[in-house]
């Protein structure tokens, strides 16, 4: 199958209503390589679906440009706007958007009936059957969408997307409506499908687990701005800011607010609850200057447990959750500081010390 590169330049989108102007996308720029599985990750309302709709041609951006392969599909300065039908893209929606009055066969065939190149009925039938066979839904062709399960509907939606061999796949949270187990199965199948078809895919999700497992690269979006864009492992290991740090990871990274204080040869993060001793070699030289505000980030699985006096801070365990293969140890301090530790062992006592390995500490300005 053909696949295309995508180039987004300074894309902005605002909505005007009676309440005023809402800027949903603020100067977004990025590119996607041919055949890449690119994930847009962010919380609800961050603008990721609006961005996808702009790429698909379902929304007109307020300014900026979009190029798919060699074709400029949007350029607000040159007043170029190519209709969705002419962009050679396919989209899978969160609700699947299957046409309820059509059979599975008719749903998959529908894009072929709209193409400029007119296929005969026999050709359409053959293409639909080949697609159904590929997705293992051949036995469902005469059913209506209401007679299908969630997973089957999703396959039909994917079938409708791939039948005309588009150069770009757009997926808007296609796994959200599935239960947890089915979601896990479909995630793997989706990745395998994209790999086999080698088609450029832009995938939108709010689930960081989906993003981490599916994406070749992730763009984390918040408030219409890309916070960080990199490979999943890089985003996980080196989050660019507290938002990315707190959004990626389950449970999320511990973010401890405080003031960086240097006394003698020791550096503390001091807040209303405690002084967290930080190892000097964890901190870059420029950050050793005392700051009025600072955030320390450390992932739950990176924190070690020791005896009181051995670590960064002595604490009392509040709650221990047994999640099967490991324990989640929650510490709720008196004045609001919360820390979560993920450990394979349950602590022997409620009074423990938290040890922060220097290479695992992330320092952010507040």
């Amino acid at each position: 199958m053909k696949s295309a590169s995508v180039l987004i330049s300074n894309l902005q989108k605002s909505f005007v209503s009676l309440k005023g102007k809402t800027e949903v996308l603020k100067s977004i720029s990025f590119s996607v390589r041919p055949g890449e599985f690119f994930v847009l990750l962010g919380p609800s309302g961050c603008g990721k679906s609006t961005l996808l709709n702009c790429i698909a041609g379902l929304e007109k951006p307020s300014s900026g440009s979009i190029q798919i392969a060699e074709q400029v599909v949007v350029d607000t300065r040159k007043k170029i706007f190519v209709e969705p039908a002419a962009r050679d893209t396919a989209m899978v929606f969160q609700s699947y958007a299957l046409y309820p009055h059509m059979t599975v066969h008719q749903n998959i065939a529908f894009p072929l009936t709209n193409m400029k190149r007119k296929y005969t009925k026999t050709e359409i039938c053959e293409k639909v059957k080949n697609t159904a066979r590929f997705l293992q839904i051949e036995h469902l062709l005469e059913r209506k969408p209401k007679e299908l399960s969630g997973g089957q509907r999703q396959r039909v939606a994917i079938g409708r997307a791939i039948v005309r061999q588009p150069k770009l796949f757009l997926m808007d949270e296609p796994l959200s409506n599935l239960d947890a187990q089915l979601r896990m199965e479909m995630r793997a199948q989706l990745k395998e499908l994209q790999r086999r078809l080698a088609i450029t895919t832009i995938y939108v999700t709010h689930d960081q687990m989906e993003a981490m497992t599916l994406g070749d690269r992730i763009a984390v979006i918040n408030d219409g701005v890309i916070q960080q864009m990199d490979k999943p492992a890089e985003v996980y290991a080196h989050p660019a800011n507290p938002f990315v740090a707190g959004f990626i990871g389950a449970p999320p990274m511990n973010l401890i607010h405080g003031k960086l204080v240097r006394e003698e040869n020791k550096v503390f993060l001091r807040n209303q609850d405690a002084d967290f001793i930080l190892p000097l070699k964890a901190l870059p030289a420029e950050s050793l200057v005392a700051r009025t505000g600072c955030i320390i980030g450390i992932r739950p699985e990176d924190i070690l447990i020791g005896k009181p006096g051995e670590g960064a801070v002595d604490v009392s365990v509040s709650v221990v959750e047994n999640v099967g293969s490991e324990f989640l140890i929650h510490i709720f301090m008196e004045r609001g500081t919360k820390v979560t530790v993920k450990s394979s062992q349950k602590p022997d006592s409620t009074d423990i010390a938290l040890i922060f390995p220097p290479e695992k500490i992330h320092l952010f300005g507040s």
Partner: protein, 266 residues
Amino acid sequence: MVRTGICILVLFTLLPVVWMLWISLVPQPDFLFTGETAYSLDNYKNILTSKSLHFIDYLRNSLIISIVAAGMVTFLSSFAGYAVSRMRFPGNIAMPLAILALSMFPPISIVGYLYRVFASMGMLNTYGALILPYIALAVPLSLWIIMSYFAQIPRDLDKAGFVDGAGRYRVLFKIILPIALPGIFSAFLLVFIACFNEFLFALMFTVDFRAQTVPVGIALFEGLHGEIPWGNIMAASAVASIPLIALTLLFQKYVIHGLMTGSVRG
């Protein structure tokens, strides 16, 4: 208690109908006084065969006018409802509200002006004199029914259609309208019933059997010596109800589906 209430309600609703049928089957309407209860179909034979009564003409006129008016109204409302519910343009909120506000004018306030207009155009006693005002009066009702129904259809279906390569018209005819059929049938049926039963305009704008409709025709039934032929009137009313009942039974599943769709979140 509930069953008693339902029984009372059913009796209350059906009693006039039963009474109408009873009167239509007896030769004399004062049978309760005379005691003559020999049932027959003479009244029905009378209205269906008597040329002087012109009942068949009235029925034909009513059916043609109601079907044409309901069809035109539904056609216009479908396009307007889709545009208002799916497309953004200046006035897409104000327009249906304005249509609704204008429809609140009581028909009797405009009947005189309409009479003069149709008279000057030579349209009195024609189908056009009834079809055109019926369309104008029924579009607000139909528009709001169809608009509400379109609003229940997920917009993702339109988007999917566009991305699948269909233009606006193809999305409307191939995707949205087939899904909206129950709502459209509901609107058609309601408008048909309203046009079929309309009396004021039919009385004012028609003169004789060439354009008069069933309600006016029945109201003008007269006996040989000026008495009111109740038997004929009731028989005519019973026969006139048949198209309405038949259409309702034929389309009831669509009507119920159309009316219930808005009450349950999909």
